[in-house]
């Protein structure tokens, strides 16, 4: 369950940053991304998948959230 910082890139996309690992990846897709909730399964451009219970209302970025590795 790493702490992940989500922030906006200059082009509007979201970055997924794990400080402990110095890992910075772009988020490819988010399962739930609506006006009243954000979360679920999150897929990164490197193919790895992470999970967070959908948060509502959607958080404002940048923010730090705790993610789980999604089950395969």
């Amino acid at each position: 369950m790493p702490n992940v910082m989500i922030r906006r890139k200059d082009d509007g996309g979201l970055l997924f940053y794990v400080a402990k690992k110095d890992m910075e990846e772009t988020i490819a897709s988010v399962e739930t991304d609506t006006a009243d909730a954000w979360g679920g399964e999150v897929e990164l451009t490197d193919g790895s998948r992470w999970y967070i219970d959908p948060i509502s209302p959607p958080p404002s970025f940048p923010t730090t959230l705790r993610f789980k590795r999604a089950e395969v």
Partner: protein
């Protein structure tokens, strides 16, 4: 020598790896790569930020060096105690050439070495009492010091001293901040973790100090320069450009920096990050906590300067955008003259770099402005996000080497035969003795600044006087020289 193809570069890597035993070979292979611009993620081609192999000669430093030497050291109005034995601080003293203004020993302390000078009895009985005493002495001898940081050397963590409680207690007594930093040298694989630890200690002990204080009058044009260590005056030659375009530089981290500048940084509108590797942590923290956006920039060479100034101006209104154009135009005659003078002397020269965490990619543009080509680059302590940023800057099929060993670097140089190497003091004399022109690119070889337009002029001059120095033609004793030798010697070819 013509540019190498992808296969040739790959073959070179294989050949160099050949001497290692099986296990070391497997490990080192992951750290050497042929650049491929089509790769988006560097982790597909290169591994970084891993422990160095025992038995190879690495060029890395330790976490203490990252915290004391890089991040905290240049905060000039604080006293940084090298807590532990005397050597760590003394042998690295003033080596980074972070320039600052002030009266050393009175209100600034940058080039001085403060240490608790641990002896056997401190290791056996603990050094907390000694630390408390040092704080009192400092307070008495240097009343103008604004604060103290305790930079742990290896033994502190090993013997389990409680520097936090001493710091808290003494800070109350002397009514100045005392910041304990747990940057023992054994932590992490390189100085990189020291940067991170130092950033975290700034976050925990400094940054929020003035959160409730609204007395500071901010403007919409406030920025902070972060990750510019003012090597040879770098931050100054950067700062004037930003100020000329209409921005107000509130803080310089940490070259020529002060404690109060750090405390005021949460009040700026934009953080400008030069060295991403060492200061991204604190910038991310400020973005999250205070909503201050940050961006990376690069002030090496006119192409990158113009790009960066425009990108910075994009974040502000038209006044600043005009300012950026005005600055670029104002200096154009100056940098055009530099290029006109030096480019003919340097055109086509090939460079290999091996530096710390930022320059292996940031300086490329400056070399290209002079018509030179960077054919190999590598970092001592980069992470994958640094290589992500490097791949695009480097040409295809050039060499990338992470945490290169002394042996590998020498072999690469023998084969690639660059006209210039830019690396550190430990590599300098080896390569000079091999007859290859060399610049010390950590401390600018006692020169600088290299940032900004003023710095570019110095950079170009330095590269010229190194590469075209007549000494490279005199590498062989005259009585050993035959007429044919002149052409055959690798040195003569590059000089």
């Amino acid at each position: 020598m013509a540019a190498m193809t992808r296969e040739e570069t790959q073959a070179l890597i294989q050949e160099v790896l050949e001497v290692y035993p099986e296990k070391a070979k497997k490990d080192r292979a992951k750290h050497l790569a042929v650049n491929d611009q089509s790769i988006e993620q560097s982790k597909k081609c290169i591994t970084s930020n891993r422990k160095s192999q025992p038995g190879v000669m690495t060029i890395r430093g330790c976490a203490y060096a990252g915290s004391k030497g890089v991040v905290w050291g240049p905060i000039k109005d604080m006293i940084h105690i090298s807590h532990g034995p005397v050597g760590c601080g003394q042998y690295s003293r003033a080596g980074r050439r972070n320039y600052y203004v002030g009266w050393t020993g009175v209100n600034t302390f940058g080039t001085m070495n403060f240490t608790s000078d641990f002896q056997e009895k401190d290791i056996v009985f603990g050094g907390d009492k000694k630390l408390a005493k040092i704080v009192d002495e400092i307070d008495q001898l240097f009343p103008l010091a604004k604060g103290i940081s305790v930079q742990s050397e290896c033994p502190i963590g090993l013997i389990g001293d409680d520097i936090e409680s001493v710091s808290k207690k003494k800070a109350k007594e002397i009514e100045k901040p005392i910041i304990p930093v747990r940057c023992e040298g054994f932590r992490g694989v390189s100085q990189s973790l020291g940067h991170h630890i130092a950033n975290d200690s700034i976050r925990d002990w400094v940054l929020h100090n003035r959160d409730g204080d609204t007395s500071f009058e901010s403007t919409p044009y406030d920025v902070a320069i972060i990750g510019d260590y003012n090597i040879g005056g770098d931050a100054w030659s950067s700062r004037i450009l930003l100020e000329e375009m209409g921005l107000r530089v509130v803080a310089q981290w940490s070259g020529d920096g002060t404690l109060s500048e750090m405390e005021l940084t949460p009040k700026v509108k934009l953080n400008l990050i030069h060295c991403y590797r060492s200061m991204n942590y604190i910038s991310r923290h400020m973005e999250e906590k205070y909503g201050i956006p940050w961006m990376e920039y690069n002030l090496f060479g006119p192409t990158k300067i113009a790009e960066s100034l425009r990108a910075i101006a994009e974040r502000f209104d038209d006044k600043i955008k005009e300012g950026a154009e005005r600055v670029i135009e104002k200096y154009q005659a100056q940098y055009d003259a530099v290029i006109a003078k030096y480019r003919p002397r340097l055109e086509g020269k090939r460079v290999m770099l091996y530096v710390g965490g930022l320059r292996p990619r940031h300086i490329i543009g400056a070399y290209e402005d002079l018509g030179m080509e960077v054919v190999g680059t590598g970092y001592e302590f980069a992470h994958n996000d640094d290589y992500d940023r490097t791949i695009k800057e480097m040409g295809n099929a050039t060499l990338l080497y992470d945490d290169v060993t002394g042996y590998e670097f020498e072999e690469f140089v023998k084969r690639v035969k660059p006209d210039l190497i830019g690396s550190g003091i430990k590599e300098k004399y080896i390569f000079q003795k091999m007859g290859v022109p060399f610049r010390q690119m950590h401390s600018w070889d006692y020169s600088g600044p290299y940032h900004g337009y003023d710095g570019f002029a110095i950079f170009a001059r330095d590269m010229d006087m190194t590469i075209n120095n007549p000494c490279w033609k005199s590498m062989q004793a005259p009585w050993l020289k035959s007429a044919a030798d002149d052409a055959a010697a690798p040195v003569a070819a590059s000089a």
